[in-house]
Symmetry: C3
Subunit: 208 residues, 3 copies
Amino acid sequence: MDYVLLVDILGVVAFSISGVLSSLKKRMDAFGILIIAFVTSVGGGTLRDLLIGTPVAWLRNMTYVYVIIGTTILAVIFRKKLSYFRRSLFLFDTIGIGLYTVLGIEKGLAADLSPIVCIALGTTTACFGGVIRDILCNDIPVIFRKEIYATACILGGITYFVLLQFGFVESIIFISSGIVVILVRSLAVYFNLQLPSIYKNEEINPES
Amino acid sequence: MDYVLLVDILGVVAFSISGVLSSLKKRMDAFGILIIAFVTSVGGGTLRDLLIGTPVAWLRNMTYVYVIIGTTILAVIFRKKLSYFRRSLFLFDTIGIGLYTVLGIEKGLAADLSPIVCIALGTTTACFGGVIRDILCNDIPVIFRKEIYATACILGGITYFVLLQFGFVESIIFISSGIVVILVRSLAVYFNLQLPSIYKNEEINPES
Amino acid sequence: MDYVLLVDILGVVAFSISGVLSSLKKRMDAFGILIIAFVTSVGGGTLRDLLIGTPVAWLRNMTYVYVIIGTTILAVIFRKKLSYFRRSLFLFDTIGIGLYTVLGIEKGLAADLSPIVCIALGTTTACFGGVIRDILCNDIPVIFRKEIYATACILGGITYFVLLQFGFVESIIFISSGIVVILVRSLAVYFNLQLPSIYKNEEINPES
């Protein structure tokens, strides 16, 4: 339990800082920075909760609110030092999406939804905070364009249901699926892998 | 019943393909393309369900999920051939918005909402998938700028309530309103009609 | 009671006009202008209601719908004269965000949420209509970049809970907090105040 909470908070810290960095690049003011940190951290889970129809979690859990506000203030003050923590931040972020994928899947299962939809909700939980961040910053969401990010979440989700099928106990499924997400994402970044391009030298010219 | 489902699926196919085309233009990767196809297809209905407060339909109906995934894969593979189907795609899309407008209106009526709000919900169902697609692709939503598209849905919605007023049976109202949407949209494209411009050579210079 | 409704309507008028002005700058057609006016007016309250899980108010209150449609039509027709009303529009807008902040806080309190979350919901009610307007117009939300706007709402929210702590009666708290929002916002514009910049001549170059 407490491990889950600790991992969750590390994820929130990483997501908040990624929001702060995006908003600094757009030269937002203090309020804008805080909002972007906030939606990056809780946007994915909020969208999931709205879709399923369950209460939005962060409204009733002040831990998130305090962690986001505290992280944002520290990240702005020490923004020039953040590059020293790049490796830790990547680690937190990666562990965060691993956890969020599995938490999202379990919320979907609790609402009695089918595996594909649960995997979609897990991926949404992990990735859509970043999507909303990019929309508010007026960029095309980065995860739509490059890197094995959502793909790692989807593979972790498939692992979850394969292990469930074989009758493993819940805690093993939980941890193994999370680790798959973390491993795939880490290996992809380490070896600089991308999804196979579907464009290869072609000139796209679709009729609209 | 089965006719409605068939028409619905044709609409989903057309919407998915329009999402694939938009995301190819932005050179998204496989994951991005799938997400854009998905939100284009189900975004309007999802927003309507969230506003009304009814459960989001596609979470519990795997037909949509399978059709969207299948269409997206086929559309990416045969993307260079899609221009041959332009006429069919336009037809599917037009029939789709006709159906979605009426389905949205009936969801609003079931929630006991007033005619104007029902028409707004019908139009939302038909048009907002495309709006969310354009936002995620970082474009100004195309239906805000040109073409008789939403206007066709609004006229179909007005038809619905006029016929309801005159006491027609439900199936006649359903089909007639849908046909009005399809006719207005088709004629507008055929004759290249637009809403009367409110700009006519003027230099807009509003104080902000 | 009637005063609240009157102030609310003045706010809706100001928000609708701000939506009309934004969409005219993007040369949208009549449908686009109406949609932007609509989301600017009701977007903040809608997001708040979705987050809390209460029914979306404007779906069942035709007053908003009529006021928005009427204001939009008049604003488009007299768009060249709007600069004469700049001062009144600023006043309406400022009074509007004062009211919306307090209404949002009270919705949060009714849902038994903590003060910080209530202040966030009040600020959301007042400010997120404009955020959604700017996203749909493909701009970075203006309130993330400049001006004391959201900050005025946050200060009004803090006032609310300080007065609540001291046991003042509800109507006094309501009016005083609203007036704090209005005063802070007016003084900020009058003296051209901004949040203290966190950039001061520095070159932002964060690692991503």
